[in-house]
Symmetry: none
C-alpha cells in the first residue's frame, strides 16, 4: 500500500434523450459533483447520452478506462426507452436474474400507494448477475452496483432527483468513503464581490491565485457580482476551513469592502442585517427598477423590521403628487436626472419617516433612450441622516439586466454607507 | 451526392471545473441542444470537463471522431484558467496570432463602458491560425470556428450565457444550416396553463397525448404554471407549425382561458397587453409580495403606459397613512385579512386615479404564522370599474415560493377580469 492514498476519480453519466434536446436541465450531475467533491473524489468528466444503447455502451466502456468510479443516472424506469440496465449487462457480460427480494419491495411500494402494479414494473426486479442492489426508499427502480474486470465501479441510479439523492446520501457516499478509505474532505467558500470588474479582481489577487494550491481559487463573473471561490482539501473539516480562512483573510485585506457576502449570503441579506443591527428604517422610491429593490429586500425574512415603505413611481404623476417631486425639476432636467432621483429619495423619506431612503430613476429600455440620455443611464440617490449621495451609472444589456444592475448598485451604495464608508 | 441528406450529429462540450464540482449548473448545453434540434442536428453527446488541458484535449479529440460538429463553451475568458483556446491550438496544431481587428473591438468595448482595459484582455485578441472569428456582440471574448483534418467543425464560444446565446442565434445556427443544407425542421410550442393542477391537465388532454405522434406532447409542472410542450418535425417550418397548430387548437378548446401564454409569453406580458389594448391603467398595493407584482409588470417594455403606481406597504403605518386603511380594520380583522386587502386596493386606486387596482396581503413566512392564520394564507383584492373581487389563498412552500404564487395568482385574477370573465 502506498503511503499517500491514490486520488480517486469519477465520471458522471446521465442518460436520456430529453437531456440532449434541452427539455430537461441536468441538475443531477451538479448534485453528484458537489457530493463527490465533498468526500474527496475528483469528478473528471460528465457525459450525457441519449436513449441509444450502442452509444451508451461506448460511453460506459470509455468511462471504465479513464476513471475509478462511474456514476450513471437515468434510464432505469420500466418503459422501453429505459436502456441503462441492458447496456451495462451487455458491456460487462452479465445475465439478468429475477430478484424475489426486489420484486417484493416493488409490490410493497405499489400496495402502499394503492396503485395496481403494471406488468412492465416486473422488469425492474431483473438484476444483472453479480450486481449489488441499492435500495430505493423513494421509488420502484432499485439502484445497482457492479465492477468491471479492472475493478472499476459502475453505480446505476434512477434519474428522478428525489430517488437519486436519497440513494446517494444513504448508500453510495458511505460505500465509496469506506471502500476507498477516503479520509480527505473538501470544503469550499465563495466570496462575493461588487464594485470591481472581473479583470481588476483578477489583477489584484492574481499572485495568490497562482501561488495557492490549497485552497485553489476560481473566479466567476456575472452582471451583478464576481464570485471568488476557495476550495480546500484536507484531512479534516477543520484543517480545510483553516486553509480557506488563511487565504480568505488576505483576499479580504486586498478587496476590502468590495466583498459584500459569503456563500449563500446576498446583497439584500447583508443590507437587511446592517439595517437591523443599526435599528434603522428604510424607504425606497423606484422608477426604472419598478419594485425590484423592495422585492429583493422582502425576500429576506423579517424585512418588516426595517422596510417602512416602497413606492413604484413609474408615472410622473406619482412622482409629483405622491413623492412631491417638483414639476419644474422634471421639466427642467427630465424625469431621468440627478435632481429627480434626489427629490424621489427626499419625498419617500418624508412620506414614511424612515431614517434612510433610496431614489432610483433611469432608462431600462428598450425604448425611451436618446443620444444625450441613452438606455442604461440610471441615477441613484441615497439620503441618510448624514447627507445625500447621488450616483450616475451607465449600464449595458437588456431591460431586466439593467434593472438588476440598478438594484444591486443601489443596495451596494446603502451597504457601504451602513458600513460607515 | 446522396438524395436523402446525411444526418448531422453534434457533441456539446462545456468547459469549467465549477461545472464538475456542481457549483454551476450547465444551462448552456440545454439551450444549445434545443437550438440544434430545431435545425435538425442530432446532439449525440454532451460532455463537461474541467480546466485541465490534457483532459480537454482528449475530450475534443474523441469528439472529433464521433460527431460532425463540436460546440464548445467556456474557458475563453482572459484569466489563466481559461484554457480552451490553447487546447484547440495544440489539438489542431495551430499558432496564435494577434488579430488587430479583434483587438480594436475589445478596445472599443472597454472605451464604450468607460472601463480601463486590463493587460490580460490582450490575450483575447490572439486568434488561432486558420480560425474564423465569430463576433461577440455582448462581451470581449470572440467566438472561433475551426476544422480538423477530417473536416469536422469545432466551434468555440464563451460560457457567459448572454454572449453565447447571441452568437449562436446570429452566427452559428445560420452557418450550420447553410453548410449542411439542413431542410428538416423541428419546431416546438409551449402552452402555459394556470388554474388547473398537473393531473387535471393530464386528465383533460390525455387522449390527445396518447394519439398524437407528430407533434409529440410533454407536460412540465412548476409552482406557478403547467407547461404543455408540443414538438413537431417536418420538411418545412410551415408544415411543422401547421401540425402543432392543429393539436394546439384542440387543447385550447379543452383548457380555454386557463392557457395564459404561449412560448416566451408570461402572465405579466399578457396582463400588460390586455391593459394596453383596453387603454386601462393599474395601481398595485403590495404587502406580502413586497414589490414582486410591480417588478414583474415593469419587466414588460412599455409598462409606463399602464402602471400608474405601486405601493409596498409592508408596515401598518404605510397601510394606514398612505393607503388610508382604517386602523379599526387592522385591529378588528388583522393586517392579513379580506378587509385589509380590499382597503389596500381601494386606497391605492384613490391615490393614483387608476382604473383598476390590486391589494395583496398575506403571510409569506417563515415567521408570523398562527394556527388560525398559517404561513401561506394570502388575500388578494381586485378592484375594477365593475366592482370588487377578493380571493383567499392557501399556498405552500418557502417564503419566495409563496411570494411568487401570490403574484401569479393576483395577475391571473386581473387577466381573467380583462378577458371579460
Amino acid at each position: 500500500m502506498p503511503e499517500t492514498p491514490k486520488q480517486i476519480s469519477a465520471e458522471i453519466v446521465t442518460v436520456g434523450t430529453e437531456l440532449l434536446l434541452g427539455h430537461l436541465i441536468d441538475t443531477n450531475s451538479a448534485f453528484l459533483g458537489e457530493k463527490l467533491a465533498e468526500i474527496g473524489i475528483n469528478v473528471f468528466y460528465k457525459t450525457s447520452v441519449g436513449d441509444n444503447e450502442e452509444r451508451l455502451i461506448n460511453v460506459l466502456k470509455l468511462a471504465g478506462t479513464r476513471t475509478d468510479v462511474i456514476i450513471i443516472t437515468g434510464g432505469l424506469g420500466p418503459t422501453v426507452d429505459d436502456i441503462t440496465k441492458n447496456a451495462v449487462v451487455k458491456l460487462l457480460n452479465r445475465k439478468l436474474i429475477l430478484s424475489e427480494k426486489v420484486l417484493e419491495q416493488i409490490r410493497g411500494m405499489f400496495s402502499q400507494i394503492k396503485v395496481k402494479m403494471a406488468q412492465n414494473n416486473l422488469s425492474q426486479a431483473l438484476v444483472p448477475s453479480g450486481a449489488v442492489v441499492i435500495e430505493n426508499g423513494n421509488g420502484t427502480a432499485p439502484g445497482l452496483r457492479l465492477q468491471n474486470e479492472e475493478g472499476k465501479y459502475f453505480i446505476l441510479m434512477p434519474g428522478v432527483p428525489r430517488e437519486m439523492k436519497k440513494m446517494t446520501e444513504e448508500s453510495v457516499l458511505p460505500f465509496l468513503k469506506e471502500t476507498f478509505k477516503l479520509e480527505e474532505t473538501i470544503r469550499s467558500r465563495t466570496l462575493k464581490c461588487f464594485g470591481l470588474g472581473e479583470s481588476t479582481v483578477d489583477e489584484k489577487i492574481n499572485d495568490i491565485f497562482t501561488a495557492s494550491t490549497n485552497p485553489t481559487i476560481a473566479l466567476l463573473a456575472s452582471h451583478t457580482e464576481v464570485k471568488i471561490r476557495l476550495t480546500s482539501k484536507a484531512k479534516s473539516t477543520e484543517a480545510a476551513e483553516e486553509a480557506i480562512s488563511r487565504v480568505e483573510k488576505e483576499i479580504l485585506r486586498r478587496l476590502g469592502d468590495n466583498i459584500f457576502a459569503v456563500d449563500e449570503g446576498s446583497m439584500e441579506s447583508k443590507v437587511a442585517e446592517l439595517l437591523k443591527a443599526g435599528k434603522l428604517t428604510l424607504a425606497v422610491a423606484e422608477s426604472c427598477t419598478g419594485g425590484l429593490i423592495s422585492d429583493k429586500l422582502t425576500n429576506v425574512p423579517g424585512a418588516s423590521e426595517f422596510l417602512k415603505l416602497g413606492v413604484v413611481s413609474y408615472s410622473n404623476q406619482a412622482k409629483e403628487r405622491l413623492l412631491n417631486v417638483p414639476p419644474t425639476a422634471i421639466n427642467m432636467f427630465g424625469a431621468v436626472s440627478k435632481q429627480v432621483a434626489v427629490e424621489m429619495a427626499l419625498g419617500v423619506k418624508k412620506l414614511s419617516n424612515a431614517d434612510i431612503s433610496l431614489g432610483v430613476t433611469g432608462i431600462a429600455g428598450p425604448g425611451g433612450g436618446s443620444e444625450e440620455k441613452p438606455v442604461g443611464l440610471v441615477y441613484i440617490a441615497l439620503s441618510t441622516p448624514s447627507g445625500m449621495q447621488v450616483k450616475e451609472c451607465r449600464f449595458r444589456g437588456e431591460r431586466i439586466k439593467i434593472k438588476e444592475q440598478s438594484a444591486q448598485t443601489a443596495l451596494d451604495m446603502l451597504r457601504r454607507h451602513l458600513l460607515g464608508n
